[in-house]
C-alpha cells in the first residue's frame, strides 16, 4: 500500500504539473481526491491492514492528501489570479474619451457678479433691501434733495407713468424707504433694476442695474466711508487693489466723492483702457445729506451716515471683457454658455 500511495502521489504530481486551467484542475481533484478517486480507493483498503501498519499508512495517506491538496490550491490560486488579470485587461477603457454631458444651466454674468458683490457686503454686515421699480417721484427725487426743476434731473432722463409716478432712475428710493421703516443703526445694500430713457447702443440701455448701499448710525464718519469702500474694493479685486477718492457732487450726499481704482492694465500710468487717466471710476459715494436724513425722520444732529452706488453692467463688462452691453439683454444661449 505504501507503494500504491507513492504511485498516486507521483502520478498526481505529474498530472498537476501539466494542468492548463481551472476546469482540468477540478477534474484532477475529483480523480485523485474525490469520493471515487484514486486516493479514496486506496484508503478503502485500510481495513485489510494490521493494527501496527494502520497508523503508519494512515499518516502517509494523510500526508499524500495534504501534498496533493496543497498543489491543487496553489494551482487554483494561480489560475484565479490569471483570470482576474485577464478580466481587468479586457475591461480596459480609453480614459481620454469625453465625459458624459451634465447639462447644468449657466448663471447670467450680471447675476454672477451681483451675487459675488452681495456676498461681500453680507460678509461686511450689510442686509439686502428691495423696493418697487415703479416708484413715486417723492422717493426717487424729492426725498433725495432733488426737487422738481432741479438740474440734476436732466442727467437722469426719466420714464414717467404719471406726474408723480415714474420708473426709478436709481435704487436710492429703497434707501429712503429703509430709513423711513427702520431706525438706525442701518447697514443695507439695495441692488436692483433702474431705468433711464437712454437709447440702446453698445454702452447704453434703458434698463440697467445698480447696487447702492447705506450706513446710518451715531458717529459714522467719512473715514468710515473710505475704509468700508476700500475694503470692498480689496474683497472684489484682490488685496492689491489701490483706490482713490476724488470730490464730486450728488444732491443727496455732502461731501460727495467718486471712488476710482488704479487701472489694472497699466498700473496708473495711463492706457487705452483707462483713457489715459490711470484710474477707472468704480462708484459714487458720500456722506448722506443732512436734509435727506431729516426727510426720512432721522435727526441729522444725532446721526450721520454714508451712501454709495455703482452700476453693475460696467463692472461686469470690464470683468469679462464684454464690449457690448446689449449682449446682457439678448440672452443668446451661446453667450450665456460662456460663463
Amino acid at each position: 500500500m505504501k507503494e500504491q500511495l507513492k504511485n498516486v502521489a507521483i502520478s498526481a504530481q505529474q498530472a498537476l504539473e501539466s494542468v492548463k486551467d481551472q476546469q482540468e484542475l477540478e477534474a484532477l481533484r475529483v480523480r485523485f481526491l474525490g469520493k471515487k478517486g484514486e486516493l479514496t480507493a486506496i484508503l478503502k483498503q485500510m481495513g485489510s491492514l494490521s493494527p501496527e501498519e494502520r497508523p503508519v499508512i494512515g499518516q502517509l495517506a494523510n500526508e499524500t492528501r495534504a501534498q496533493i491538496e496543497a498543489v491543487i490550491a496553489e494551482k487554483s490560486a494561480q489560475f484565479k489570479s490569471a483570470t482576474a488579470s485577464e478580466k481587468l485587461r479586457k475591461e480596459t477603457i480609453d480614459v481620454t474619451m469625453p465625459g458624459s454631458k451634465k447639462a447644468m444651466g449657466k448663471k447670467h454674468p450680471l447675476n454672477l457678479v451681483l451675487d459675488e458683490i452681495k456676498e461681500i457686503f453680507l460678509g461686511m454686515g450689510f442686509d439686502v433691501a428691495e423696493g418697487p421699480e415703479v416708484e413715486l417721484d417723492y422717493y426717487n427725487f424729492e426725498a433725495l434733495n432733488i426737487p422738481k426743476d432741479h438740474p440734476a434731473r436732466d442727467t437722469q432722463d426719466t420714464f414717467y407713468i404719471t406726474d408723480n409716478i415714474l420708473l426709478r432712475t436709481q435704487t436710492s428710493p429703497v434707501q429712503v424707504r429703509t430709513m423711513e421703516k427702520q431706525k438706525p443703526p442701518i447697514r443695507v445694500i439695495s441692488p436692483g433694476r433702474v431705468f433711464r430713457s437712454d437709447a440702446v447702443d453698445a454702452t447704453h440701455s434703458p434698463v440697467f442695474h445698480q447696487i447702492e448701499g447705506l450706513v446710518v448710525d451715531k458717529g459714522v464718519t467719512m473715514g468710515d466711508l473710505k475704509g468700508t469702500l476700500a475694503d470692498f474694493a480689496k474683497r472684489l479685486y484682490g488685496e492689491d487693489a489701490v483706490v482713490r477718492f476724488r470730490p464730486h457732487h450728488f444732491p443727496f450726499t455732502e461731501p460727495s466723492a467718486e471712488m476710482d481704482t488704479m487701472c489694472f492694465n497699466c498700473g496708473g500710468k495711463g492706457c487705452r483702457l483707462c483713457k489715459g487717466e490711470g484710474w477707472i471710476e468704480i462708484l459714487g459715494c458720500g456722506m448722506v445729506h443732512p436734509k435727506v436724513l431729516a426727510n426720512c425722520g432721522i435727526d441729522p444732529e444725532e446721526y450721520s451716515g454714508f451712501a454709495f452706488g455703482m452700476g453693475l453692467e460696467r463692472l461686469v463688462m470690464r470683468r469679462f471683457n464684454i464690449d457690448d452691453l446689449r449682449l446682457f439683454y439678448e440672452n443668446d444661449q451661446r453667450f450665456l454658455d460662456q460663463f
Binding site: 447639462a103 447644468m104 444651466g105 449657466k106 448663471k107 447670467h108 447675476n111 457686503f121 453680507l122 454686515g125 439686502v128 418697487p132 421699480e133 415703479v134 413715486l136 422738481k148 426743476d149 438740474p151 440734476a152 436732466d154 420714464f159 414717467y160 407713468i161 404719471t162 420708473l167 443703526p185 447697514r187 433694476r193 434703458p206 434698463v207 450706513v215 448710525d217 458717529g219 464718519t221 467719512m222 473715514g223 468710515d224 473710505k226 475704509g227 468700508t228 475694503d231 482713490r244 476724488r246 470730490p247 464730486h248 457732487h249 455732502e254 461731501p255 460727495s256 456722506m287 436734509k291 450721520s304 446682457f328 439683454y329 439678448e330 440672452n331 443668446d332 444661449q333 451661446r334 450665456l336
Partner: protein, 790 residues
C-alpha cells in the same frame, strides 16, 4: 467747459504741466476730462515769402513758386491762384504734419520737384473767424508780424493749452475762466489776481434811450441790468480775443457778439446784446409771454410762446426768450449803430423748463438753469462796457438800468471745528480749516463763515466740511472701520429665491435678464383675448418707442422674444429661466403690484415632461407639498391639450404647457416651445413645515404591481390617487412604470401599470394585510372603470 491756459494765466501765475495740473484739479474737485495743446498735430510748418511765381511747363493750372523760408529757398508747386510775389505764407516743409494726420512729403508734380506745400486756413485747422482778412479757398496770405522761417503756430497763435473740465451742476461759478482760476489758485495756494472792470462813460443818459424798463415777473427775474452803447463800429475782434474764444470752443463773429461771449466765458454770466433800433418804443419789459405770442429766434426757429415762458419784450412784442436765446431781427448786424447790453438774473427752473420745452439748450440756458447769483450781473456788464472801450467798438452812454428783486444777504455758517472733524473722521486744526476757507474766498469772522456770493451751493455746515475736506485732500482722510454692530442677514424670502435659482441651474436652465417693458402688440402675439386683464398695463408716457412703452403684466412675451432670438440665430436648443417681475396695474394713482415670477422656457431636445420633471425637482427642494398638474384647455397662449395648471394643495401656483402653435408661429419659432410660469410669492406661501427626522424603517417592505386597462382619457394621476386611497396608511411609495397602447389594447383604451411599496411602522405586513390593501385599491380603480389585468 474748455479752459484756455493763456486766459487762466491772466488770473493765476501757474507753472502749467498738463498731467500734474489735471491730477491736482481733479483731486480738489474740478474733474479734468482731458487736455490738449492747440495745433498738436501741426509740425514743421514755417513762415515763407514768395520770391517768384513761374508757369509750370507741363500743367496749365499749376505754378512753380520759389519760397524763402529764412535759411533756404524752396521750390514748391501749387495750384493756388491768389498768390503774388512778396506774399507771406505758411509753408508745410518736407516731413511736416497737418491736422487730420496728414503728412507732407517732397515729390514731383507733373515732372517738377516740389519740396512742400503752401497751406490754406482750413489745412491749418483754422476758419475765417480766426483770421477774417484771409480767404477760405486759396493760400492763407499772412498779415501778422513775423520772420521768415519762424514756426507758423507761434506766429498764428495756435499754441494755447486747453483743459476740458467736467463741471458738476452745483458749481455754475466754475463754468467760467474766473471761477476755474479761483479753484486753481485755491488748489495751488497761489494768489488770485482779480480784475475790477472800469467803465468809461461818454455822457448822455441811458434813460434817453431806454424810456421804460420794468420787470413784471418779479418771481422769475431777480435782477435786470442794462446799458446802452452808441456809435458802434462793427468789426472783427482783435486777435487775442479771437484766440481765446477759439480755445474755448466758441466761434468768433464780430466785436459786439464776441464781447458778450467773452464776458460769459470769463464771468459765467450770460449777456445779451439787442440792436437798439429794434427795441420798439425804447421799452423793455420782462414778463411771462402771452398766449399766442411768438418769436423767431436767432437760430431761425419760429417759437410759439406760452405763459410758462419768460420773455423780454419791447413795447409791442417779445424780442428774446429770457436766458435762452434772442430774437433774430433784434440781433447784431453790420448796420447796427446802437446796442443795448442786457445782464440779468433769471430763475433757473424757469429757464430750464423753457429751454427744454423748445429743445434749445444754449450756453446761456445751461448756466442760468443751475442758478446764478444776481450779484454777478454788474461785474459782467461793467466788463462788457470796458471791452467796448478797449476795442474801440463804441461809446458807453452814461447811466445804468438796474432793477433788483432780491435780498443781498450773504450765507453765514458757524464753523464747528469739532463737529467737522468728527463728521470727516479727521484731526484738522481749526486754524487750518479757516485758512482753507479763506483761500476759497470765504470770509472768516471769528467762527462765522461768510460764503462768497458766487458760491450758491453753500447752505449747511456739511457743505463747509466738504470745502475743507477737498482742499485738505480726500486722500488724507484716514480709512477706518465702521463701529457698532451689524447683521448681514438674508431674509427667508431671499433664500427662497436663491434656492429657485440654484435648482433651475442644476436642472440645466440658464439664467436670463429681460426688459421690464415691451410693446403692447406683444399681447396680440401671445393671443391674449381682447378683454383680457393682461392688456391693462401700466403705460409709460414718454417711452423710447412703442416697443418699450408698457410695463409687462406677464413675462411670457419676454421669454418668447428671447426664445425666438435664439431660434432665429439657429441655436439648436435653449433652456432658459428668469425670476422676472410682472407689473399689475392698480389704477392711475397707485403704484402697480410688482409680482415676482419664475418663468422657464425651452425648445429643442425637450418635451413637456422634461420641463415638468425640472419643476417637480424644484418643488421637492423647496419643500412644497406634492403639486397637482391639472389639465386646462382655456389658456389662449397654450396648447389646449398639453397644458396644466399647477396647484400646491388648493393654491394655484402656476402653469406649464406647450405654447400654442399659433403663438409660436407669431414669434417665428418653427418648433415646439414649452413654457412654465410660477408665482414666487404663491410658492413661498405654500412651503410645507420644516422636515423632521423620521426613524429609518425597521420592518421589511412588500412590493405589489397593478396593471389595468382603462379609458384613454383617464389621467394617470387619478389612478394613482385611487390606489393611494385604497391602500391607505401603509402605502410607502408609488411609481408609474408602464403606459401602453397598441396591439391587443382596444381602440380608445390604454394599459397602465403601477408599482407600489407597502410598509408598516408597527410590524411586518402579513400576506393577508397586503392582499386586503390591494383589493381595496382594485375596488377604487374599478370605480374609475379600470379593468385589472393581472
Amino acid at each position: 467747459m474748455d479752459l484756455s491756459i493763456k486766459w487762466l494765466k491772466e488770473f493765476v501765475d501757474i507753472d502749467y504741466k498738463a498731467r500734474d495740473f489735471a491730477e491736482a484739479l481733479t483731486m480738489s474737485g474740478s474733474k479734468v476730462e482731458g487736455y490738449t495743446t492747440e495745433g498738436a498735430e501741426i509740425s514743421g510748418v514755417v513762415i515763407g515769402k514768395i520770391n517768384s511765381i513761374d508757369k509750370h511747363p507741363n500743367a496749365e493750372k499749376l505754378v512753380i513758386c520759389q519760397v524763402d523760408i529764412g535759411d533756404k529757398v524752396l521750390q514748391i508747386v501749387t495750384g493756388a491762384t491768389n498768390l503774388k510775389v512778396g506774399d507771406i505764407v505758411p509753408v508745410a516743409t518736407d516731413g511736416s504734419t497737418l491736422p487730420g494726420g496728414i503728412k507732407i512729403k517732397k515729390g514731383k508734380l507733373r515732372g517738377e520737384e516740389s519740396f512742400g506745400m503752401l497751406c490754406s486756413l482750413g489745412e491749418l485747422g483754422l476758419t475765417l473767424g480766426d483770421f477774417p482778412y484771409a480767404i477760405e479757398d486759396g493760400i492763407f496770405v499772412i498779415e501778422e508780424e513775423c520772420e521768415l522761417g519762424q514756426d507758423a503756430k507761434e506766429v498764428l497763435g495756435i499754441n494755447d493749452d486747453i483743459v476740458e473740465f467736467e463741471i458738476t451742476s452745483n458749481r455754475p461759478d466754475c463754468l467760467s475762466v474766473r471761477g476755474l482760476a479761483r479753484e486753481v489758485a485755491s488748489t495751488y495756494n497761489l494768489p488770485f489776481k482779480d480784475h475790477t472792470p472800469v467803465v468809461t462813460e461818454c455822457g448822455g443818459d441811458v434813460k434817453d434811450y431806454l424810456k421804460s424798463v420794468k420787470v413784471d415777473a418779479t418771481d422769475l427775474c431777480y435782477r435786470y441790468m442794462a446799458r446802452v452803447v452808441k456809435n458802434i463800429k462793427i468789426a472783427p475782434s482783435p486777435r487775442w480775443l479771437r484766440e481765446r474764444l477759439r480755445a474755448s470752443g466758441v466761434r468768433p463773429i464780430n466785436n459786439m457778439v464776441d464781447i458778450t461771449n467773452y464776458v460769459m466765458l470769463e464771468y459765467g454770466q450770460p449777456m445779451h446784446a439787442f440792436d437798439y433800433k429794434h427795441v420798439a418804443g425804447g421799452e423793455i419789459c420782462v414778463r411771462r409771454a402771452n398766449e399766442g405770442e411768438s418769436i423767431t429766434t436767432l437760430d431761425g426757429g419760429e417759437r410759439e410762446l406760452t405763459t410758462n415762458n419768460l420773455c423780454i419784450a419791447d413795447r409791442d412784442k417779445p424780442i428774446a426768450v429770457a436766458g435762452v436765446m434772442g430774437g433774430e431781427y433784434s440781433g447784431i448786424f453790420d448796420d447796427t449803430d446802437t446796442v443795448v447790453f442786457e445782464s440779468a438774473c433769471f430763475n433757473g427752473a424757469s429757464v430750464r423748463t423753457t429751454a427744454k420745452y423748445f429743445g434749445m439748450r444754449t450756453d446761456s440756458s445751461a448756466r442760468f438753469e443751475k442758478g446764478l447769483p444776481p450779484q454777478l450781473c454788474q461785474a459782467a456788464l461793467d466788463r462788457a462796457c470796458e471791452l467796448v472801450t478797449l476795442l474801440g467798438a463804441g461809446e458807453v452812454v452814461s447811466g445804468v438800468i438796474d432793477i433788483k428783486h432780491f435780498e443781498d444777504k450773504p450765507v453765514t455758517i458757524t464753523l464747528d471745528a469739532d463737529w467737522t472733524n468728527k463728521f470727516l473722521g479727521t484731526d484738522i486744526p481749526e486754524a487750518e480749516m479757516k485758512e482753507i476757507l479763506c483761500r476759497l474766498g470765504f470770509e472768516v469772522k471769528g467762527n462765522d463763515i461768510v460764503a462768497p456770493y458766487y458760491r450758491i451751493d453753500i447752505e449747511h455746515k456739511a457743505d463747509i466740511a466738504e470745502e475743507i475736506a477737498r482742499i485738505w485732500g480726500y486722500n488724507s482722510i484716514p480709512e477706518t472701520a465702521i463701529k457698532g454692530k451689524a447683521n448681514g442677514k438674508v431674509t427667508d424670502e431671499q433664500k427662497f429665491v436663491r434656492t429657485i435659482n440654484d435648482v433651475m441651474l442644476a436642472a440645466g436652465y440658464s439664467q436670463i435678464n429681460t426688459y421690464s417693458f415691451m410693446s403692447p402688440k406683444e399681447y396680440d402675439l401671445i393671443c391674449a383675448p381682447e378683454n383680457s386683464e393682461l392688456r391693462n398695463s401700466v403705460t409709460i408716457t414718454n417711452p423710447l418707442g412703442e416697443d418699450t412703452s408698457v410695463m409687462r403684466t406677464t413675462a411670457l412675451p419676454s421669454m418668447m422674444e428671447t426664445l425666438a432670438l435664439n431660434f432665429n440665430r439657429r441655436n439648436q436648443s435653449a433652456k432658459l429661466f428668469e425670476i422676472a417681475t410682472e407689473y399689475i396695474n392698480l389704477g392711475i394713482d397707485n403704484l402697480p403690484d410688482e409680482q415676482k415670477v419664475l418663468i422657464a422656457g425651452a425648445y429643442g431636445n425637450t418635451d413637456f415632461f422634461e420641463v415638468k420633471g425640472a419643476l417637480e425637482m424644484l418643488f421637492k427642494v423647496l419643500n412644497l407639498p406634492e403639486a397637482d398638474f391639472v389639465a386646462t384647455n382655456d389658456e389662449a397662449s397654450y396648447h389646449p391639450g398639453r397644458t396644466a395648471k399647477i396647484f400646491a394643495g388648493k393654491t394655484e401656483i402656476g402653469i406649464l404647457g406647450e405654447i400654442h402653435p399659433t403663438v409660436a408661429e407669431n414669434y417665428n419659432i418653427d418648433e415646439k416651445v414649452y413654457v412654465a410660469k410660477l408665482n414666487v410669492a404663491a410658492m413661498y406661501k405654500a412651503v410645507g413645515e420644516e422636515k423632521m427626522y423620521h426613524q429609518l424603517p425597521k420592518f421589511p417592505a412588500v412590493t405589489r404591481d397593478l396593471s389595468m386597462l382603462c379609458d384613454e382619457a383617464l389621467p394617470v394621476a387619478d389612478i394613482k390617487k385611487a390606489i393611494a386611497t385604497g391602500v391607505g396608511d401603509i402605502l410607502e411609495s408609488i411609481e408609474l412604470f408602464d403606459v401602453y397602447r397598441g396591439s391587443q389594447i382596444p381602440e380608445g383604451k390604454k394599459s397602465v401599470a403601477y408599482s407600489f411599496t407597502l410598509r408598516s411602522e408597527s410590524g411586518t405586513l402579513s400576506e393577508k394585510q397586503c392582499t386586503k390593501a390591494v383589493n381595496k385599491a382594485i375596488a377604487e380603480l374599478e370605480k374609475l372603470g379600470a379593468e385589472i389585468r393581472s
